[in-house]
Point group: D2
Chain length 366, copies 4
């Protein structure tokens, strides 16, 4: 029996352990086995590792992967976009599977599917079908997974460098909408903030500013087209930041403000950054970081619209991959990949994201 | 010189004083003088009286009025809807005037006009053009006021009984939208809640529930078509109210929840009452009642959209008056008028609203 | 082997033939066998019979059915709405099945599924799984069919009386949208026009007028709440009809005009009936009735928006069944069923619809 | 008395005549006198000259102008965007004035204002206030005109080179909407087509193709970012053009198709170029070019949405001027200005547009 290694989280906050798993002998119809080439470490992985989301252990983390198809179950002939699939193809996938028949799937809200499961998050490592996370030599994809074949012109680093931050941003910006010529302010300069910046600019925003830190992340934001950045370290007083941001946006506030921090007080800081009649997107709160004092009167008086969006759908992945190809020159997502670790050092990859020392760290199994 | 009386608020929280004013000798082009037949007392008047909004004193309160045109300035020949205007006509008006040329008026947001002024709120009683509030024998309407002639079939009590609550609800529901067949939950059974109930039902909601009190207000809610009511006095525990409301809405939450209470904690109670992907309207927070703990993660996880709306535009008044006529049988707004006071007792009219003892009190100058 | 009878169309325009079919011995997983209680004859059946749609013969017509579950395949435990299903339940279904994985299904347009099939239309009568049309004693439902259990309070005549006209109207009006207070003009007083009238009124229209005929259909329109009707027989001149309609709508045209005739020249008559900035829905052109002279300048000058919608999705059936229950008093769809025929007289049922002599004819197999 | 010259159209199709007019001695409050630096010739001017729009003669043509303020009426202190105005400023303006109080102005549709007037189109040359067209040494702007001060960084050639084509495209694309990543096909490569291309690309389209001619216009389209062009001269058969366009768009049709030709048969060619569920904008039919055979069944079966838009609002001019500045590098509108004529040769300027020999001709009074 062939075997492979995976990095398993057995306890919150403890180092991941390298564990041996048997490779599946038979691939079921519709399923696939993928040899992982690169797995991204996402901010959510850090939240999961800290126990801030209610998941079951043990688990193989890693919900962003690119790899090669090594085995394809019967009937799996086309990728989600209708392209033919064959052993040897380089592929990625949407991280989640929806059931298609529950209350929310029926109502066009598959991201809130009552049976939703995500690779690297929801599948226990010690139960079949095993190998359901990305920090591993192989990942097993169940039937119904939205698989995407990667064309030659699209680098693995682009896909992993944009990661689930990109599809999250695409979904969120679909929700909040960018009108042609909108001014956009982004709170947060991590992967989600950078992705939101790229999507907002390419969706019609006339100008985008970013509030965040540290300095090297803001530098990347400017490289991606931010017209203005406000460094939290340089301007620690939210009132001063607000003055700077409001002046930048012409005195009335931005048309759209996008929260990409995951920090609850950012929302209180963010609502006043909107112009009256503006829109606000809560994009960074995948994890539950608790309550914060907010004033509902602001929503009324400023006639705000506040949007939330959760995860992504396969169509967002499909759109994201096309975007990565056509906008590669303008948005160098491959440069987001700053720190590379082999599988045995998956812990270090996690810590590099936790400490904000990496723009984005990745695991390269071999 | 002819004179008239008005009830003037000279200090927050103090009794209104009856003061004599000279009637204007000449009506300027585009302006009008109206003999007040009935003025409604709105919840906002109570907030103003308590000093919860930043206004200048002295002021003649009263922003809901019906009266007869006694003098019409040159050039004022048509009402806002294009109907001819003549001395003797019974009229009402939108309570606010926008400038038409500021940053927000240019951008189709006249409710956030930078020069916005409201009768009964923003005009000092001791400065020209005087007589700019409704608790008075006469009210002076400046050029550019959106005046509406009332047709014979529409009773003064319908107009005042619905008051600015109706146009506020029309504007808010225009913002949040009601899809055909939506289930709607309303928080609050005061005039705004009742108006929101009527508008939601006539806008395509399949069923509407109301959470509020006291019991006689909920009785009125049922009379207006509420399918289900939850009495705050009977169920003081928000967790139990949530269970009842969620079960009523089929287990997943309501499609739309409308806050009509003005109480900040109602928002924290309200977000979980929405189904995932649902919409929430903050309609009751015209006054600033301060911050409350809220969890942004809920907006993300439930993919909520939260809307605010401020005041109303003349087109909402126009639509509201048509609605009152066509839906009179289904929605007896005239029955909202529960307590009548003459001008000298305007204080008591205010207190009847403050204590929730009246459904709606009105001032009838003579 | 048990057998049953069905009315088969073997040649366009020729009488349907009663043919004997064997009942399936085994019901596959997810499939179901239903004993037909009532099948509606739809205008589309007439078009099909006349050969105006490109279908394969022989076929068992009938895409609107209510019947009893007599056999249920393994795994079919819940209806589309999540209600438990059991042998003996009275059920209906959406007439079409989409594949869920094609280009359009992926893009949330299942009505344009590249593999879409409809009962009573797309399945040849002489090939397995047989019995795929409603003019028969039994109908066989394949896996993936959107089945709906009918609650006791909902009569079979309500479901068949509203038929696919109702779900078609629900889909179309979802597309065109009804804003609160809109005036709506409907062209056509057949089943689709009557259904559009009911949906528009319950979706927030303030007033609805109907242009059509003959007189008894307009009588039904008034019974369903039409404020004004224009009889094509009484006013044969389109220019005069336009004058009457425009005056009714206040001089500027209706906010929304809905074409429910299937006649191309109705579109040329209809565009000018819209107010400037109005919306027009082409709802009646399921069959291809050819080109007609139209002036694109009208779309530009009047700033129209013209919508099309095709068929319906299961969620429209779900919404329609709920609507039938709650609005039964206001919209007596059961009264649409005017002419009943047993299976051997299915031809006469078709002809009663072709000649407009019936509001709606139905086939009751026994 | 000072006098100036203007080119007057006294009869349709006849040469413009140079006529002397007195300059106004007094500028009324809110009005302004502008010395024309450059006036663009628009395709609409050709239609007007040919008598294809119902206007009153004599008229001074020219609705696109840039000039210097030489006299400013009392009270005119700010431009439409709130920037201070002073004699000597270089300005442009929206070509039309709306009344602000009619049925359509009240309903947020000022482009359909019942009293709408356009410079260079609706004002007779022989009646006060005279000088209301752009082919003249001076143009007189009435109170209420939306005037815009041009910043130093914005060249006159950019403003005239984009002309009313740009604001027309901005308005139209606001109507049809561009979703992030949409594929867009444009019919027509004249000024409106080129402007629509620029706006669509900057509004989020992933790729834009253009069908039109002649070759040098398509060259300009590629310079503005068209990914694909189809030359009408090279492919005269619409069926072949459709095959090419459909293949380009991936086999299903484009998400959005924008008609910018003014030719009625283009609409019949255009609808099938949309994917199912796609959107179509009729942008080129400002003039009434008559009926054309169209098939309403296509709208139904393909679930199209067809939009019209008329002229533009001042907010579109405001947005357009900002766009010209920020996107100057990508979209060289100044290069659209190909042929320059002094006032005495205004006829030739018209003919250069009529014959399609010029990309865009302009009149430079001196």
């Amino acid at each position: 029996l062939r075997r492979c290694r995976a990095a398993v989280m057995t306890a919150f906050g403890s180092p991941l352990e390298i564990v041996d798993f048997p490779l599946p002998e038979v691939i079921q119809p519709g399923a696939a086995l993928v040899k992982v080439e690169m797995a991204g470490v996402c901010g959510t992985d850090v939240h999961l590792w800290k126990g801030q989301l209610p998941i079951q252990l043990p688990v193989i983390l890693g919900h962003e992967t690119v790899g090669r198809l090594v085995s394809v179950g019967e009937g799996l002939q086309l990728d989600w976009d209708g392209q033919p699939l064959a052993v040897g193809d380089r592929v990625t996938r949407n991280s989640s599977r929806s059931c298609g028949v529950c209350h929310y799937c029926r109502r066009r809200l598959p991201t809130r599917c009552l049976e939703r499961k995500a690779y690297g998050i929801s599948y226990p490592a010690d139960a079949p079908p095993y190998l359901s996370g990305g920090f591993a030599e192989y990942i097993h994809l169940q039937p119904g997974t939205a698989i995407f074949r990667l064309p030659d012109g699209l680098e693995t680093e682009q896909v992993i460098g944009s990661g689930c931050a990109l599809v999250t941003a695409i979904h969120g910006i679909e929700r909040v909408g960018i009108d042609w010529g909108d001014s956009v302010l982004i709170q947060g300069a991590g992967p989600v903030g950078i992705a939101a910046l790229a999507v907002a600019l390419s969706a019609g925003a006339s100008r985008v500013g970013v509030i965040g830190g540290p300095a090297r992340r803001l530098e990347m934001a400017r490289r991606f087209g931010a017209e203005m950045t406000i460094d939290l370290d340089a301007i620690p007083d939210p009132a001063v930041r607000r003055d700077v941001a409001t002046e930048w946006s012409g005195g009335y506030g931005a048309d759209v403000v996008i929260e990409c921090t995951g920090s609850p007080p950012a929302v209180a800081e963010g609502w006043p950054l909107c112009r009256d009649g503006g829109r606000y997107l809560v994009l960074g709160h995948y994890a539950d970081a608790g309550e914060t004092p907010l004033n509902p009167h602001l929503i009324t008086r400023k006639e705000l619209t506040v949007y939330g969006s959760w995860g992504s759908e396969p169509r967002h992945t499909s759109a994201g991959l096309k975007f990565l190809r056509r906008a590669a020159a303008q948005f160098p997502f491959q440069e987001m990949v700053s720190d590379r670790f082999d599988l045995s050092r998956a812990n270090e990859a996690l810590r590099a994201m936790e400490s904000w020392s990496a723009r984005k760290s990745v695991v390269i199994p071999e």
